[in-house]
Assembly symmetry: C2
Homo-oligomer: 161 residues x 2
DNA sequence: CTTGCTATGTTATAGTATTCCATATACGGG
DNA sequence: CCCGTATATGGAATACTATAACATAGCAAG
């Protein structure tokens, strides 16, 4: 099982590829990959960390984009809706998706010390909830799977509490 | 797999038992099961729905308890900390736990139409995240597992969208 | 070029949560 | 029993997160 975010990888090409993929996806689906949208995606791609809407808004403001909350929320909504970005419920924050253009049920590992977020797949977990859901007659439409803990580098630093 | 909340059960005794269990747990652990704490727990026990902190605060206020946000948040923190209540991240809301006094990794099925929340166990899901976490060197301390969908009664009413 | 859709920008407000300080109540040691 | 400490409650003020509603601008198709 692959889990991008806490393992070593060529981040430069990682970022470039996903930017290109998003651009391609938008072209293919007649979506506008506009300046703000591109910029927000880039900001999120820069780190495997979750950023709050207001963090992003601050950066946009500093770069001459609109400065009011809807600017950030609308842009994030667009990116989330099309699968470029995921919302982390536990943090009220957002991370770039590591598998753009593929629909999936993401699961996250969140470091409570450095906010790094690694993404992996939750399909197995939906598989586990499946039986309980079937028994109860509940129809699953979406899953939120987030593990909170300590990432390898923070653990190595012995910062843990 | 048992999943309380969307299946028929004797709710009166369900509530009484859990109240008694909480009281017993507090006695045993030298914790104060005070009036506000008891009342908030009762309010949450009344329904298998998630209530926001401000919903609860409104009821407390109407009953003569304090009326400021910390009253609700402190009480909820206490109840969550000791496992009587769970926070539903997706809803910024709280539900009474169906297995008081047992430590576990809960998972929830949330009806997006009527807000009913059913609780089941997430241990299998941690089991699934386990391999990914081990591979990444991530130490899981807590998991958030929430399925969003439509509950049996809403589905029966054909209200679904 | 005009009509209509999508996107951007802004104001105002709603909803969620915490920090800090003051008062009160419970509990153990003397 | 009284005092000192820890815990619990009440409240003011503020911070953080999110949305509604409306106005303007850009762009594409007829």
């Amino acid at each position: 099982m692959e889990s991008v975010g806490m393992t070593a990888h060529d981040h430069g090409s990682c970022k470039a590829e996903r930017l290109a993929a998003a651009h391609g996806f938008c072209d293919a689906h007649r979506l506008h990959f506009t300046a703000v949208r591109r910029r927000v995606f880039e900001i999120l791609l820069d780190e495997h960390k979750a950023l709050g809407a207001y963090d992003i808004l601050a950066r946009l403001k500093a770069e001459g984009f609109g400065s009011q909350p809807p600017v950030a929320y609308r842009t994030l909504d667009f990116l989330v809706k099309h699968g470029f970005v995921h919302r982390i419920e536990r943090l009220n924050a957002y991370v770039a998706c590591v598998h753009p253009c593929e629909t999936h049920d993401p699961a996250f590992m969140i470091c409570r010390l450095c906010n790094t977020v690694a993404e992996t797949s939750a399909l197995p977990s939906r598989g586990m909830l499946g039986p309980a859901a079937r028994e109860a007659g509940f129809e699953i439409e979406q899953t939120v799977v987030e593990a909170i803990g300590v990432c390898p580098s923070c653990r190595a630093e012995g910062v843990a509490g």
